[in-house]
């Protein structure tokens, strides 16, 4: 069975195959190791000149990628753990994101920075974080999050071969072993197409949803479980809206759902304050006239602990989200 990771790998391979401008750079990405999470496996064997293992220099390799991109190449830089993005923050926010506009559109920065993000693995406070929220809203930087509702290879191909702007691509570690979602008999799904599609998932044959679950990345897996429980155990019917692009915020499909349901429960793995869904709340207030209810499930506002019992307490869990949902319906 082809896993989500296999398909990311296939997407990278496709890009290397299609364009001689594509280069992969990252720590420990050479075969046989193929990177800490094995995403690059096999690629250095087949494209030895364009798959390059780098020193442990996150700022340096992202900056290198910006320079390569400014000169017409299409570099893909892997940051081994998303926790280390903080080291590349200057290169992403002050260089990659600004160059095009600042130069009066004389140049382009077709750079993709890929990184595995997230917890539930006990890796501890510096290897389990969900830090993308600190990069959302940076003008000139596109932030994407893979999810099982879209074909990961398509997202990679779009970002690497088609997108001329810098992209930060978040891949949750727990997605790698999964396979992409298919509605089967229990669920139904429709897509809102676009360069980076939204997916709207519901319970097959369910009545009109009266709760919108908004989640991205791995939280969209949790969200589906929540939706399922709500339907089969509580007879509450929700609709799950899943973006692929987190920033900038193009939220039409989300609004559409909220206009129907009037209730939003956002699920985020990052700590509560000022995550992705805060902007959803702000824009709902700005764009949806009628009164909406809004709630958030997120990590507790502290580092992600290593111990299983503590990590479980700090990171969002299905059952507590179900409780939150019930609370919102009662209001």
């Amino acid at each position: 069975m082809t896993t989500f990771l296999d398909r990311i790998n296939a997407g990278l391979r496709h890009c290397l195959e299609k364009s001689a401008d594509v280069y992969l750079l990252g720590e420990d990405i050479l075969d046989p190791y193929g990177g800490a999470f094995k995403v690059a496996r096999g690629l250095s064997t087949d494209y030895p000149e364009r798959v390059i293992t780098t020193p442990v220099s996150e700022a340096g390799i992202v900056g290198l990628g910006v320079g390569m991109a400014l000169r017409g190449l299409r570099p893909v830089v892997e940051i081994m753990f998303g926790d280390f993005l903080t080291l590349a923050a200057d290169q992403l926010i002050n260089h990659a994101a600004k160059f095009r506009w600042m130069s009066n559109d004389q140049v382009r920065v077709p750079l993709v920075v890929r990184t595995p993000m997230g917890g539930y693995r006990g890796y501890g406070p510096t290897h389990s974080q969900t830090l993308e929220k600190h990069f959302l809203g940076a003008a000139g930087l596109r932030v994407l999050a893979l999810n099982t509702y879209v074909a990961p290879e398509q997202v990679l191909i779009q970002a690497i071969l088609e997108d001329d702007d810098p992209v930060l691509l978040v891949e949750h570690k727990l997605l790698y072993p999964l396979s992409t979602f298919s509605p089967g008999r229990e669920f139904e799904m429709h897509k809102v197409s676009g360069a980076y599609p939204w997916s709207i998932v519901g319970i097959a044959g369910a009545p009109r949803a009266d709760l919108t679950l908004a989640a991205y990345g791995y939280m969209a897996e949790i969200g589906r479980e929540v939706m399922h429980k709500l339907a089969y155990e509580k007879e509450i019917f929700a609709e799950l809206v899943v973006p692929t692009q987190l920033s900038p915020f193009d939220l039409e499909p989300f609004y559409e759902s909220v206009r129907k349901t009037g209730k939003i429960l956002a699920i985020e793995e990052g700590s509560l304050n000022l995550g992705w869904s805060a902007e959803l709340a702000a824009r709902s207030l700005e764009n949806i006239r009628s009164n909406v209810r809004f709630g958030r499930a997120a990590a507790r506002n502290m580092p992600v602990p290593a111990a299983a019992t503590l990590e479980q307490e700090v990171l969002p869990q299905v059952d507590e989200i179900v409780e939150l949902a019930l609370g919102m319906m009662e209001r």
């Binding site: 720590e27 420990d28 050479l30 046989p32 190791y33 800490a36 293992t53 780098t54 020193p55 442990v56 220099s57 996150e58 700022a59 340096g60 926790d83 280390f84 080291l87 693995r121 006990g122 890796y123 501890g124 406070p125 510096t126 290897h127 507790r300 506002n301 502290m302 580092p303 602990p305 290593a306 111990a307 299983a308 019992t309 503590l310 990590e311 479980q312 307490e313 700090v314």
Partner: protein, 306 residues
């Protein structure tokens, strides 16, 4: 040396057996998360920290178990931390890479610890003259720019820090030749920091070099660096080894435990072995029977004024 060969042997064996137990228990799902063992590098922690004084500080990295045990940390508390027990060094919050106890600080962000070590050395210079920061880093960590920002400040301000670079010839899966240009000692020298580069797994030799360098640092002669060419016998983390078995075997001939044995009486060797094995078993058994870290103990990330 302050300590006898037997002492050093015991200290190194404690690390070796502890780490072996970790690797043995990992597949059994007793831990959660990840770990980086120190097997093969024991002579560094033991030889270097043999010269630690009471008010000295140790700054360690992701591969911290050996440093922690050599520092005097509790084997049981470390085992408990790895198992996520409330009795762990950090109550289970930190896990394998984030060990803090007394003057011992470890962190999993490579390089980020070096400015911290430099700042601590600044504090020692101001508050506890004569005390020294021992800052460990690996060869791969020399890729991080903040390391050089720190070397510059440490040298500029003549701070009491000894940088120990454990060159085990690999960063995770990557051989140093693919990671590092130029020369390691020269990288310290360029910032005015004298660096001694040795290729050794002999705890006595490492101790002697350390003694000399640390005495300079204590005397206020500024930062010094010790680069030790070494080798790790176990995988980077667990089961992720891609190195040539022959290469590993070659370096195992220089196993620091073998090197020291000759200097230890045979009788002692067996006693130490029994003793340490018992200690390790006890530590892990106790840890296993300790309560899991309890969510109710969780405190907020910010203090009162939050």
């Amino acid at each position: 040396m302050k300590s006898t060969p037997a002492d050093s042997y015991r200290a190194m064996l404690r690390i070796r057996r502890f780490e072996e137990k970790v690797l043995e228990l990992f597949p059994r799902g007793l831990f959660y998360g990840t770990t980086h063992t120190y097997i093969g590098q024991e002579a560094n922690a033991v030889g270097v920290l043999n010269w630690l004084d009471k008010s000295d500080i140790v700054v360690s990295n992701h591969r911290c178990h050996g440093h922690f045990l050599a520092y005097g940390g509790s084997m049981h508390a470390l085992a408990a931390e790895l198992m996520g027990r409330s009795t762990g060094v950090c109550g289970g919050r930190g896990g394998s890479q984030h060990i803090q106890w007394r003057n011992f600080y470890a962190n999993g962000i490579l390089g980020g610890t070096i400015p911290l070590a430099t700042g601590m050395a600044f504090a020692l210079r101001e508050r506890e003259p004569g005390a020294v920061v021992f800052a460990f880093m690996g060869d791969g960590t020399l890729g991080e720019g903040v390391v050089y920002e720190s070397l510059n400040m440490a040298s500029l301000w003549n701070l009491p820090v000894l940088f120990i670079c454990e060159n085990n010839r690999y960063a995770q899966s990557t051989p140093i030749a693919l990671n590092l240009a130029g020369d390691i000692a020269a990288r310290f020298g360029a910032f005015g920091i004298t660096a001694k580069h040795i290729d050794s797994t002999e705890v006595q030799q490492i101790g002697e070099e350390t003694e000399r360098l640390v005495s300079h640092v204590r005397k206020g002669k500024g930062p010094q660096a010790l680069i030790i060419d070494t080798y790790r016998f176990a995988p980077h983390s667990k089961g992720d080894d891609v190195r040539d078995p022959d290469e590993i075997a070659h370096f195992q001939q220089r196993d620091p435990l073998i090197m020291i044995r000759s200097a230890v009486k045979t009788g002692e060797i067996d006693d130490v072995e029994t003793e340490v094995t018992a200690e390790v078993d006890a530590a892990f058994e106790q840890a296993q029977s300790d309560p899991m870290a309890t969510p109710s103990d969780i405190t907020p990330a910010l203090g009162a004024s939050a």
